[in-house]
Symmetry: C2
Subunit: 136 residues, 2 copies
């Protein structure tokens, strides 16, 4: 398979396939006589693994670790669970952070009449954050 076919079959862009090879996530692809990269069904499988990892929000380094575990038939599932558990904790922390932003913004928006007048608690907060703890 050429890179384009492998890309389509795995859902990874051609650009990223080359990139993953460049950063050593994938072994260097074999080449045709005319220097085109060649991919096997197993290569496509690894690409889909990476793609799925990205969809689940893993960083490239985490995926590198997971891919190593996947290739290693003697891995322990505890090692995999540890990587995934750390990632879940990271995701939850990020969610909490975003939810805090939403809460603050919705509270401010609730008190913003949103008409043609210039008074706006949202801008007031941006200009002077701590002075708006009036309603607890």
């Amino acid at each position: 398979m050429n890179i384009g076919e492998a890309a389509k079959a795995s859902g990874v862009s051609v650009k990223m396939v080359r990139h993953y090879e460049a950063i050593g996530l994938l072994p260097k692809a074999k080449r045709t006589f005319s220097n085109y990269r060649l991919y096997s069904a197993n290569d496509v499988h690894e690409l889909r693994f990476i793609r799925r990892g990205r969809d689940l929000g893993f960083s490239m380094e985490e995926i590198r670790a997971l891919l190593g575990l996947w290739r290693n038939k003697g891995r322990s599932s505890a090692a995999v669970k540890k990587v995934a558990g750390k990632h879940v904790a990271d995701l939850k922390a990020k969610i909490a952070e975003l939810q805090s932003m939403v809460q603050t913004l919705e509270h401010l928006a609730q008190h913003c009449h949103g008409d043609e007048r210039p008074d706006c608690p949202i801008l007031d907060d941006l200009a002077n954050p701590s002075s708006h703890a009036h309603c607890a």
Copy 2:
């Protein structure tokens, strides 16, 4: 005030103060005879405005818009609310995306025994995503 004092007073790093000026978010700072940037209390106020906007997750372009509205005494609060509302929607979409990841991962982790054995539903899913809708 020198840039270091303005940075400390606003909670923005020296690097970023210069950067905000470079991208036109802040007007070009006045300079001393020896080319040091000089800041007024109002400049520090704008820096804190930016800082607060970043803390609330606004992009630089959104902050640019909000800063423009803040400077414009004749703005309508509706314009501000619109920017903030769009941002809240973006945040909520992101939260939903992350929560979906967490849900998937927690479901998989729940079925991973996490011991020294190599069998692992987490890796199985990464390698073959759709084949695990066994328990609905």
